[in-house]
Amino acid sequence: MARAKNNLWNRYKYKINGVVILLAGYFLYTTLFPQFPDTWAAKKVGQFEVTPMPYNLDAPYFHDGVYTKDFFLMFNEGDVNSIKQAYLTIGEKALPLETLAAEDHGILHGSEHGQEVHGLAPKELTSNHRVWLTIQTWQGEILLTSWPLPQSLLSNSY
């Protein structure tokens, strides 16, 4: 039987998997000091002023039967308790509130310290798409605003 040569590769090939543990150290560092994408421009809508931020610049992901893109929304002005229900979706047009309210996809949740949303999204994002925020207040008002998709998000979507 051929005897393996006692060279560096043969000596260390089985231990090279240990590099994975070094990666764990690097990933721990990135977890402790997370980097988020830039926030988008604040928009006034009714009594509210909202600043959105996508959690990452990745393409939408498939979850619970739909494509989803996660956002963090800061309500700089306005009381989130006065929102009866609110939804965030991505598309060429805003979806009617009745359509959104029939399901629970894209509903805003959280607190006055920050709202989160798994926004309903198309599989692929294009420059024709916008991010739509639909808010219904307890007074019955339906408020709508939107943001264009930044290039940083579009370039990762293909």
């Binding site: 994975v20 990135t30 992901y61 229900q85 629970d104 959280g110």
Partner: protein
């Protein structure tokens, strides 16, 4: 044929565990520590201890939440968790100056003993063992798959190990650990002895590990195990232009839950995150092999209706597997005593990966070194002989 297959099995045993031995050993070691991470926290942090010198009765989780809300009036409670009776409850909240904080509340005295800003040893160990801190790509993590794949390694090493070690059951009746016959013999005896006594544990870890692998594939492919609880229909929300108060409080919802499941012991409470959301309670009952979230009730805050339930009686096969895997893998089925047993066998397992590597090292490069040394000695003696013959 028998000889050939034995040699092949021995090689296979090595192939299963050697190429990834460092990661394998690391996963065993971190898992071993993770099993008792709550207890290590208890030992190292007095604030994490739920001391009860006056023998007070345990307060309801809703009271503990009220305590945190009173102490931090702008806080919003996101979750409340309870663990072993000797550990404080964790009330998790966000506040204007804290994006994520955990209040350690003593369930007997009601005292907030610490406010941790989110990073705990328990979570650190679990993430390190569970997915090696590899980032989650929404529904999967490469690290989670890597760790789950160790189950295949472990099962393969176990089966081939038992096939190679003929009459392995003798290790139960006539355990053999020869300490005076050289390092090789000692390592081999130790490896085999620990292996045979750990067969049940190796099987349990590898089978639950294989289940975690299946679960990971299901997550990535969006196959739901426990269905999402429904949300409140818009028509069930109150009309009127004022911001309404929920008709049923968290305490009312807990009472409704306990009426539904009389043995219910709350472990995880989640207040509504928006006005169409429900109160969510998950806990344990009297089925010891099921995890601490195997009972669940979601309650409509506007009309007190139970929106969904979860209990071992209602579970399908996949749900049952998902709820019995954790207690078996974590060793929590019998409280601290089973955790200690799991820890001891975790040490054996970690040790086996080390002794296995050392045995392989003895057999390969130490043998190669000895061979090299012998060759060099021979060549020196040959050259000396040549020199002496020349001089003569």
């Amino acid at each position: 044929m028998a000889k050939l297959s034995n040699r092949f099995l021995f090689q296979l045993h090595g192939w299963f565990s050697l190429p990834v031995w460092i990661v394998f050993c690391f996963v065993c070691l971190t898992g071993t520590i993770a099993v008792i991470s709550h207890e290590i926290t208890w030992l190292t942090n007095t604030n994490a201890r739920a001391l009860n010198p006056d023998n007070l009765p345990e307060k309801k989780v809703t009271e503990l939440i009220d305590t945190v809300e009173s102490a931090y009036p702008t806080a919003k409670i996101t979750t409340a968790l309870s663990f072993e009776p000797y550990l404080v409850n964790a009330v998790i909240f966000t506040d204007s100056d804290k994006p994520y904080a955990i209040a350690y509340v003593n369930q007997y005295t009601g005292e907030i003993q610490e406010v941790n800003q989110g990073f705990t040893f328990i979570n650190f160990m679990r993430a390190l063992h569970g997915w090696l801190y590899f980032p989650w790509q929404n529904s999967y993590s490469v690290g989670y798959y890597l760790v789950c794949a160790m189950a295949i390694v472990m099962l393969g090493a176990l089966i081939t190990g038992l096939l190679v070690y003929k009459n392995f059951w003798r290790a139960f009746t006539q355990p053999k650990l020869r300490v005076n016959q050289g390092k090789k013999t000692f390592l081999a005896d130790l490896h085999r002895l620990a292996g045979v006594w750990s067969v049940w544990f190796l099987l349990l870890m590898s089978l639950t590990g294989l289940w975690y692998l299946v679960q990971a594939i299901m997550w990535q492919n969006d196959i739901e195990i426990d269905p999402h609880p429904p949300i409140v229909a818009v028509n069930d929300l109150p009309s009127g232009s004022q911001i309404p108060q929920r008709a049923y409080s968290l305490q009312d919802a807990l009472t409704i839950t306990q009426q539904k499941f009389p043995d219910f012991k709350s472990r995880y409470v989640m207040p509504p995150e928006h006005y169409r959301d429900t109160y969510k309670f998950y806990g344990e009952g009297d089925f010891i092999f099921y995890d601490q979230y195997s009972y669940g009730v979601t309650v409509n805050p506007w009309n007190g209706e139970i929106m969904s339930t979860r209990s071992p009686d209602e579970m399908n096969v996949v749900q049952t597997l998902s709820h019995i895997a954790n207690p078996l893998h974590y060793g929590t089925i019998g409280g601290i005593w089973t955790k200690i047993i799991w820890f001891i066998f975790g040490v054996f397992l970690t040790g086996m990966s080390i002794t296995g590597f050392l045995m392989w090292g003895e057999r390969t490069f130490k043998a190669a070194k000895r061979q090299q040394h012998l060759t060099e000695t021979e060549s020196v003696s040959v050259s000396n002989n040549t020199k002496s013959s020349v001089s003569v």
